[in-house]
Symmetry: none
Subunit: 241 residues, 4 copies
């Protein structure tokens, strides 16, 4: 019996187009900033018509929110998956933040994007605000962290984190600086430097992203446009005298 798979096919196409637009948006936001007029660049980068854009996103802001969520959540989920197996809340938290910074270093696009988005990146809807409180609460229960209002802890971590990522994106963050920030953040939660030092002494296995992940795909395009290999027209034939 024949099925009409047109609906499914159509839905898949829609999803693909959405991704295409989000990828383009990430590139452009990272480049031009979040408050810039972006639509023209996005449709150019996506190779898509003006009208198509408006079939998916009504405004600049809607696009930013979607891009931020998609990327942010992909990242947070990966991190959570990784740290889930660690044995203490402090380890989970410290490693999570460490991974966050590490990914930002490995993917300049991400750092730029986050730096541009700034505080809004941590808007509601960001999974950070789902997971961080859990680790904090567990840490308090275990006696690893001092008791404090969740909001205060969150704001210190997230606020500091934003500036750190901004430094990373500006190329101003060396290992020593990052280490110090991590220690400082852990101390602010009441976790002693020595134990934090021990946690951070272990080598960090970098997060591994799927080749189809938004981050990797966008990163690749980002690097390509930084040092364009000009694959199309290999190189202009050098003229001789």
């Amino acid at each position: 019996m024949l099925e009409d798979h047109r609906p499914r096919v159509a839905a898949e196409r829609r999803a693909r187009m959405r991704r295409t637009l989000l990828e383009a948006a990430l590139l452009v936001f990272a480049e031009k900033g979040v408050d810039a007029s972006v639509i023209d660049d996005v449709i150019t980068a996506a190779g898509v018509s003006r009208g198509t854009f408006y079939n998916y996103f009504r405004t600049n802001g809607e696009l930013l929110i979607a891009a931020n969520e998609e990327l942010g959540n992909e990242l947070v989920r990966h991190i959570e998956e990784r740290v889930a197996s660690l044995s203490t809340p402090a380890a989970r938290l410290a490693t999570g933040i460490r991974l966050y910074f590490d990914v930002s270093r490995r993917f300049p696009l991400l750092a730029h994007f986050l730096a541009r988005v700034g505080p809004q990146a941590a808007g509601p809807g960001n999974l950070l605000y789902t997971y961080l409180p859990v680790h904090l609460a567990e840490g308090v229960k275990r006696g690893e962290f001092v008791e404090m209002p969740t909001l205060a802890a969150l704001d210190i971590i997230v606020g500091s984190g934003i500036l750190v990522v901004t430094r990373i994106s500006a190329g101003e963050a060396d290992d020593k600086y990052l280490h110090a920030c991590l220690l400082g953040l852990m101390r602010s939660l009441g976790y002693p430097s020595e134990r934090a030092d021990a946690l951070l002494a272990t080598p960090l296995l970098p997060l591994d992203f799927d080749d189809e992940s938004l981050l990797v795909r966008t990163h690749r395009r980002y690097m390509d446009q930084k040092r364009p290999k000009r694959t199309r027209s290999p190189s202009p034939a050098p003229r001789r005298a």
Copy 2:
């Protein structure tokens, strides 16, 4: 002997106009944000013509930078003046931050403005970046703070501070939250909670601003436009028979 005081008078007029424009700019930035289109509103609020504006500031950005510096430095200088007399670096730092938050609470305009400006508020040129390192270094020398790269400490303090002020501007910051943030920040520098608690236990004498200060003048206009007392026509004239 007769002096030509026209130049001096002219210079004074220029300075006054500049202030007028900065006041208007602060109001508008606090209201509409930093990336908004602002000039129209500014000249309206200042009661001044388009052309005049351009005699003082060449661009939007110049205006923001000037406003930010003027306001930020007025604030920082007041704070520094106050804390100078305190006996320990930790006390100076803790009280300074405390005053910062306190002023933000008393002057919603300031909180809004800072929240809008975000991380850029802490750009170079901001006196924070002159004074904070001094307190930090002294604290380390005295053994009050652990040793860490200045940049790391600054970023934790400033980054957290931005989010805190944002909370204040959104009306989400109660005393408990603020206290926790202060403790957390001090801890992140290696200063123990108990001693920080002691420091913060003393009542805080609010900063006192001159009636002619940028902050007070702008604040007043800001509050006026929030609940307009309609000074012009006190009440509709009752009709007689």
Copy 3:
């Protein structure tokens, strides 16, 4: 003997779809006006896809012309049928116009639509331009009307009629006004007021439209959307304890 009735069935389906689209178009034209962007609303109202629309009408204008003709001619034919049995041209004309106004009052959708279409409603192709001249000529021959160029008489009747229907659609036309307009129009043809009065004194039996007529079907939907009875969920289900 077996017949292939697929062609007939297909033709019927086509006709039904055409009607569906015309109904939707009438609703939308009456609501949004003739020059508005209409296709989106039409396909929504018709519950049909974009592509389907273009299988039936190539452009906006084609749709308007079709809708106008379909509705206008249905109306004119009904009126002519009714007045055919009257004994004098003056009676036929006066009653015809009277019916026109009466139907406009009973079907606000019609009034709105005609008011929106305006003078173009009376374009060539409208049966008015077929029938009116006949009555006028007969009236002249019988000595009821003065002799005058047909075009002049038509323009007075149609021009006035358009404004009258506009008044009706705006709810500004009471009985007295309508009566005066009818008398005025008859006078303009040379028919004395007293005799016109006598003609108009007879009660008017409202035109009766088939339930399947374009007018009635569209009117019903129009009224439904004006005061939606919310047939789907008759009333919010009361919660129990």
Copy 4:
């Protein structure tokens, strides 16, 4: 003593620019119709920048209303001035309408414009609605017209008039047609054909407009663009074989 006449000069400039825009608007509306997108053409015709337009009119509709009022009222005032000296209301009314049609014939631009505007031309704010009722009322008082609701008389006159002007603009209105329309309109008010005939027998002295009037100025440009004399580049030299 020196006065600052800058304000006055500025106001004059503003008024001139407004006129420039209105002239351009009339040309464009007459050409493209009232519902067309017009702003681009208007600024081109006025030789003015996009931004300037928005300094004077916010929307298409605002522009139309202003143009319609300016032109309509100029016209009505001229007509009223002329007919004021006539001795009877019927003469004033008949001559007024006659002049209206006559001006429409002499100034095709006017006819086109009015035909395009259609019923809306007679919106509130149009002086017609100020003056016509006066003549009608006086006519009734004098026994020249039958008594009828003012609105009914107005709608017959204005409604018919719109179609007549449309005929004129289409070049379909000959003398006989116009005469018949005038007789018909007078009859509709209860004024007998014979007397109307007498009124209309007198030759009509055409209205005389100031060279600076909106009508004349715009008319001139309109005729110029119809048969462009190409004064700038005299004519391309004809090529020979």
